[in-house]
Every structure is written in structure tokens, then in C-alpha cells.
Amino acid sequence: MTTSPSAIPADQPAQPAASDRPPVVAMTGITVTFPGVKALDGVDLRLFPGEVHALMGENGAGKSTLIKALTGVYSIDAGTIVVDGTERTFTGPAQAQLAGISTVYQEVNLCDNLSVAENVMLGHEVRRAGLVDFRATRRAAREHLKALNLDIDPASTLSSHSLAVQQLVAICRAMVVDARVVILDEPTSSLDVDEVERLFAVVRDLRSRGVAILFVSHFLEQVYAISDRMTVLRNGTLVGEYRTADLPRVELVQKMIGRSLEVLEQLEEAPKRVVAERGDVQPYVQAIGLGRKGSIEPFDLDVYPGEVVGLAGLLGSGRTELARLLYGADRSDVGELRVDGQPTKLRTPRSALARRIVYSSESRKTEGIIGDLTVRENIVLGLQAERGWLRRIPQRKADEVVAQYVEQLGIRPANPDAIAGNLSGGNQQKVLLARWLATQPKLLLLDEPTRGIDVGAKAEIQRLVAELAEQGMAVVFISAELEEVLRLSHRIAVLRDRRKIGELTNGDDVTTDDVVDLIASGGQDA
């Protein structure tokens, strides 16, 4: 991780064989703007026939936006899209399909009420005298399936097949329209090892037939296993295009995360991370092999009172999923959860609340703050939920609680009657925090509490978390910013690919590089 690997100059071929040919798709300087946000800023992407091209970046880096810009779902504000040497602008997926660009989405976008044959052939059915000839249609579908080595009955309903097979059927459909570019958007996120292999066999076959494949995945190993070339995005900008073989994993992870995290360094000195003298204190929450299929692999995790446990990992690595299991927002299907030493089944957030476990969601706007209510109403909400809706909290008590937290957390404006939706992000976060603190929790799960808020507010929230832990609260702290996790946490659980791959005890000698190394290596040699 010393020097950055050389980005391939545009005129220098990555693979002699592949780039003798010009790229089938060349996107240059793509800029997409949403109200107030530049989702993409001058991004380039080249797809070569007979190559698997991985599009890398964290959630929100702009991968989906780029794909949607290519397939005409979003219109671009600047830049050019050249397909086969001619500049094109597509108005929608149907038009992109006609130009030979097919997309297979993460959530299989087929109709599971119809047969496999129909899903493959829909819109391209064989017709005789204007009417669909089902026998011929099925025969055609069978041939297309066979080309991908898929031996399934075309007449069977789609829903009777596993997700992996449905995924392959979707690819098969892409081939019917003679796709020369196939975009696979997170195709493997719900597949297991064998199914992934099956998918990859098909992908390799397509590649050998000269199809250009754009592969998007969070799973680093899969990307290295299948791709020839990759384009890395970060925060809507292009980091670079690299040959997969030239880019070690550690450097890829660094490029995806970025190193602009120093901004916070000059803020407050690091809060003290005195590891609490545990003695015979038992963990407040203890997860033993807790997991949920398709969400997070079974993991062990102890959280002691007075301790901040950081969850580190790339976005989509399972951090939120882990927290949701601890909060009962999702039900676990294996393992055991002990709260205060007692085996507990958390079926709903309500039962977690009753055990003084609270969760502050990462999506503040949709799962947290109720924008139309006042600051007061938002803060009292948690308390009221705990009491039950029939027993209204006396006005005086509510005022007291609200005043206390508005002052303690420094909520600005210090006006309990302000409409919460009009507050800045940082202050909304504080209101949310106040809501949960008012219920006097013993375990506080904070999912990205500092995302999208300004530097000052960030530092305040960090200090607050440190204080709360000092007062004996157990805290699970989730953040995409490794520096922040390192600054606050006593221990750091590292996740990758929806699996907990390791745990670090924090200390002055632990650096972000250690965490990055652990993420890159998958915990194999850490």
C-alpha cells in the first residue's frame, strides 16, 4: 500500500486480445445530478467485448447510478455514452435492450407467476398467425437454456426454482435479445457457494463468446475470481480503471474507502478508551452463534456495560444486519442471545425496548426522525412507546425530560416546538439520540450516527458516546469511517461479506491499516 498502482492509460491495452477491439461501450465524463446532490461527477467507464469488468465502490459511491445512466433509467447531465462507435442516449431499459445492453438485477426482475419459458421469451414469443405458439416458444426457450447449460423444464413455473436458477434464467433472457453487454448488478448477494460457481461458469462462457460483462458485487473474492478489469468509484467520482491482476486487495479497499478521513483528526483529542475493569461483570448482551439466513452469518459478540464496541467493515458487509438482530428488528433463525445473562428471544423491537436495548437507525429520515412532528414530540415518542399508548405522559414530565436533553445534547435551536424536519442533520441525530436516552437504555445501538452531518456535530456526538459509556452504558457503534470507530471503540468487531471475520482489542498501536488489512484478508491471517 505504498504507491498507487498505475491506472491504465486509455490507449494502452489491458489485455492484448480483448482490446484489439474497440470498447463496445464507452462512457466518458458522465455526470448525474439529483436535486442538491451530484450523484456522479465526470465518471468514465469502458466495457470491452470478451471481458468481465467489475464496478467497485461502497454503497452510495454511484455504482447503481452509473448503471442506470447507461441503461437510460436516469438521464445524464453531462458526458457521452458511445455504444459500438455511435453516441447514444437511451430513454429506458427497453431501448437499451434493443441496442444489446441487458441488465440482470439483484432482486430477480422476472415474473414468478409465469413459466420459465415465458420468462425467457416474453415479448419474443414464437407466433403463428398472430397467436403465440407455445410449443415452439418452449422449444426455443429450451435451446436458449441449453446454451447456458441449464437443464430445467421450460414449462415449470419460475417460482418453483431456487433464486440462483432464477438468476440464470434472467441471464438467459438477456441472451434471447442478443445482448452484447450484460450487466450483472449484485447477482450473487443471495446465492451460496455452489450457486455462485454455477453462475460464474455461465459468466465465463459468455465471456468466451465475446460478450462484455459488467459485474457489480460487494464480495471482493468473487470480483477477483471472475473479473479482468475493474473501475473503482468513490463518492460519485472516478478513482480509476485497473487491471484486476495489477491491483492487490488492500489497495482496492483503500481506494474504495478513500483516505480523506484525516479531517476529523485535528478535532478533539481522542476520548479516553479505558477498557473497563471487567472483573466478574457479565456482558450486558451476549450473542452466541446468532445469525439469520441471507442477512448475516452466525456470530459471537459480547458487549459489556461501559464499553463501546465498534463494528467495522465496508458498507453492505453486514453491520446493520448484525445490529438489527440485537434489536429484534429482524428475527434470528439460529443461535442464542443473552441479555443480562438471561437467554432471550427478541421478536420485536418492543421486546428489545423492554430490555432497555435501543437502536438508532442509519436512515435517520425514514426510520428515525418524524419530520412533521416537533422536537418535543419526537423526543417523547420513545418514552411514550415504552409506557404504552394509553397512558399519556403528563405534560410537565414531558417538558422536563425534553428540556433536560435539549440542554445536555446541545440541540439547536433549543426550541422544543421546532419542527424536527427543519433541523440540520446533526441536530436531528441529537433529537433521535435524546429520544432513546430518555428511555434510559442499557445498550445503545448506534448505526451511522454521524453520517452526513457536519464536522462539529460529529465531534459532539462522538464525545457524547464516550461519556455515555463512561457512565456505564453499553454501546455498539457503527460507522463507515474507520478513524471514528477506532477513536471511540474499546473493541472492534470486523465484518466482511456478511460475516464477522475478527475482533480487535483497541489500543494506541492499532491503526486503520490494521482494520483494512483484516478486511482485505478476510481474517485468514490476521
Binding site: 426482475n109 414468478d112 409465469l114 415479448g123 403465440v132 407455445f134 450473487t188 451460496d192 473474492e221
Partner: protein, 339 residues
């Protein structure tokens, strides 16, 4: 640092493809099978309890008396298959009937009146389709608005019941083809059966029809597959409206009058027939022939209660309600089990 591992390990054994047992009926036919069973039970009960129940005459009468409902149910099937609903059909029946009665009393010929009153339905369907698709209004609300509109227009056209004396209509209503022992069919019945046949072919053997099913399965997917979702969604309401217009004509022939209070709640009968016929209200699954069976079931209920003789006709509603509940719950269970 590199590992050969592709994905985190998962419990073994999940990779094997799911197999459905051979003996099980294709899931798509299960709800219709339920309808057939109900029908068989009703025929058996009716046949064993009442003399002259299982005769051609009774069965033919069910079709003849409900021919307009068959046509409505066919149109409704298209709409419900896409996941929509059409509440306007009952009012459109009335409007179509009122307009035909008004035109006949004002001296228009049948050759013009008949197409016009069918096209009135087409027009209302088109308006609804555009509201649903272009302005993305919930089908429930859009068709509710169309229902009030059509019902209001009825009063404008025919404040009171207008008898129809046009010779063509009179002839259509009196013609009976068939044998002497009661197995007869009327022109209305023939029209209804023809509509069913055409709908069957359109729904199953045209790209339009398959797109209807695809939209019901997942509109989002259908759009991403590049299917003509917009056109199809507008068209199903046009079809339903046209069927309602035609249904109005058949009802006018049946009652030989145009009256603004005709067909109050008839849209709900049509929806009930479609649901009892095994079409999922969420769309994507169901058959036109199922809906016909649904109408027959409704007709049979009425017939049995007539044969019983002592029960009030409100029992029809009670039985239909109970049956509908059972079917909706059954459908829900099927969907849940499929997950």
C-alpha cells in the same frame, strides 16, 4: 492474503434445487380447482334435494339470466389480472342501458344505437385507463370516480325508467334457439359465450395477454423486461369498459328498459365472480374460464335458494359473502404456502 474462498460458507445442502412433487397440480390451477369442487358440491346437493334441478333447462337459464354478468366478469378478469380493480362497470351498465333507451325513444335505429352504447363503455374505460396509467391514480379511486360519473350521467339521460320498444331489441329478447325440453340459448347467451371465447384466446395466445399476466406478476419486472406496460394497462380498462358497455346492452335486452338504478352493486357481483373463479386479487394468476365458473356458482346459489322456496332472497347474499370469504382465505393460504 488471497483466499480461494468465494463466499462465506453457508450450511451445506441449500444448493440443491427445489423439487416439486410430481403429483401436485400446477399451482396456477389450484384456485380454479377449488371453484370446480364448489360447483360440483352445489350441483350434487341441488340435484339430490330437488327434483328437476339437474336439467338442461335450469342450467341454460343460469347462463341466459346471467349473460350480462358473464361479460362483465370477463372484462373484470383482465383488470384484476393486472392487479387493478374496476368499480365503474355496474354504473356503466346502467349508463349504456339508459343511453340505448333514450336513443330508441328518439328514433335512432338499432344499427347506430347498439354500437354507440357499447362505445360509451369503451370511452369510460379509456378515461379510467389514462387516469390510472398517466396520472398514476389508484385504480380504486379512478374507477370510483368513473362510477359516480356514469351513474350521475344516467339520471341526466333517463330520470325515469324508459321502456324499449325497438323491434330489433324486442326480437333479440324473445328469440330462443334450442330443443323443446328446455335446453335453449338466447342471442345474449351466444354473445356472452363469444366474448368468453375471444377473451380466452386474447389472454392466452397473444403477446398482449401474456403481458397482462406479466404485469400482474410484477409490474416493475415487466417494465424492466421491456414489455409495453403502459399500453397494456390502458387497454385492460378499455376492455373492461367495453365489456361493461356490452353488458349494458345485454341487460337492456334482458329487461327491455333503460333505468338509472340498474346494476347498483353489479360491479361487486362481477368482482365476486372473478374471485370465486380463482383469480388472485393481487393479479398475475387466474383464468377467464374460472370467472365464467364463478358466475355459474353465483347463479347456482340463486337457483338453489329459489328451489328452496322458503328462504328469503337475501340468503343469496349471505351465501355469496361466506363463499367469498372462504375463497379469499384459501387464496391467501396458497400464496403464503408458495413462499
Amino acid at each position: 492474503m488471497a483466499t480461494d474462498q468465494l463466499t462465506p460458507t453457508r450450511p451445506a445442502g441449500t444448493a440443491t434445487a427445489q423439487k416439486t412433487p410430481r403429483w401436485r397440480l400446477d399451482a396456477r390451477y389450484q384456485p380454479v380447482l377449488g371453484t370446480v369442487v364448489v360447483l360440483a358440491v352445489m350441483l350434487a346437493v341441488g340435484g339430490s334435494r330437488y327434483e328437476n334441478f339437474l336439467t338442461g333447462r335450469v342450467m341454460a337459464n343460469i347462463l341466459i339470466n346471467n349473460s350480462f354478468l358473464v361479460v362483465l366478469a370477463v372484462g373484470m378478469t383482465f383488470v384484476i389480472l393486472t392487479g387493478g380493480i374496476d368499480l365503474s362497470v355496474g354504473a356503466v351498465v346502467a349508463l349504456s342501458g339508459c343511453i340505448s333507451a333514450w336513443m330508441f325513444t328518439h328514433g335512432w335505429s338499432a344499427g347506430i344505437t347498439i354500437p354507440v352504447c357499447v362505445l360509451v363503455g369503451t370511452l369510460i374505460g379509456l378515461i379510467v385507463g389514462v387516469m390510472v396509467h398517466v396520472f398514476e391514480i389508484q385504480p380504486f379511486i379512478a374507477t370510483l370516480a368513473a362510477m359516480f360519473l356514469a351513474r350521475g350521467l344516467c339520471y341526466l339521460v333517463a330520470p325515469e325508467s324508459i321502456p324499449i320498444t325497438d323491434p330489433t331489441i324486442v326480437k333479440l329478447s324473445q328469440t330462443r334457439w334450442g330443443t323443446d325440453d328446455g335446453l335453449v340459448i338466447t342471442p345474449s347467451g351466444v354473445i356472452a359465450l363469444a366474448v368468453v371465447a375471444v377473451a380466452f384466446v386474447v389472454l392466452h395466445y397473444t403477446r398482449f395477454g401474456r403481458t397482462v399476466y406479466a404485469i400482474g406478476g410484477s409490474e416493475q419486472s415487466a417494465r424492466l423486461m421491456g414489455l409495453p406496460v403502459a399500453r397494456t394497462k390502458v387497454l385492460v380498462y378499455v376492455i373492461s369498459g367495453t365489456c361493461a358497455g356490452l353488458g349494458g346492452l345485454l341487460f337492456a335486452i334482458f329487461s327491455r328498459s333503460g333505468y338509472s338504478l340498474t346494476g347498483v352493486g353489479m360491479e361487486l357481483d362481477a368482482i365476486a365472480a372473478v374471485v370465486i373463479g380463482g383469480t388472485l386479487l393481487t393479479g398475475g394468476s387466474g383464468f377467464v374460464l374460472g370467472s365464467v365458473l364463478g358466475v355459474v356458482v353465483l347463479g347456482l346459489i340463486q337457483t338453489i335458494i329459489t328451489f328452496q322456496g322458503t328462504l328469503s332472497s337475501w340468503w343469496t347474499k349471505i351465501v355469496i359473502g361466506a363463499l367469498l370469504l372462504v375463497f379469499v382465505v384459501l387464496q391467501r393460504l396458497l400464496v403464503l404456502r408458495r413462499r
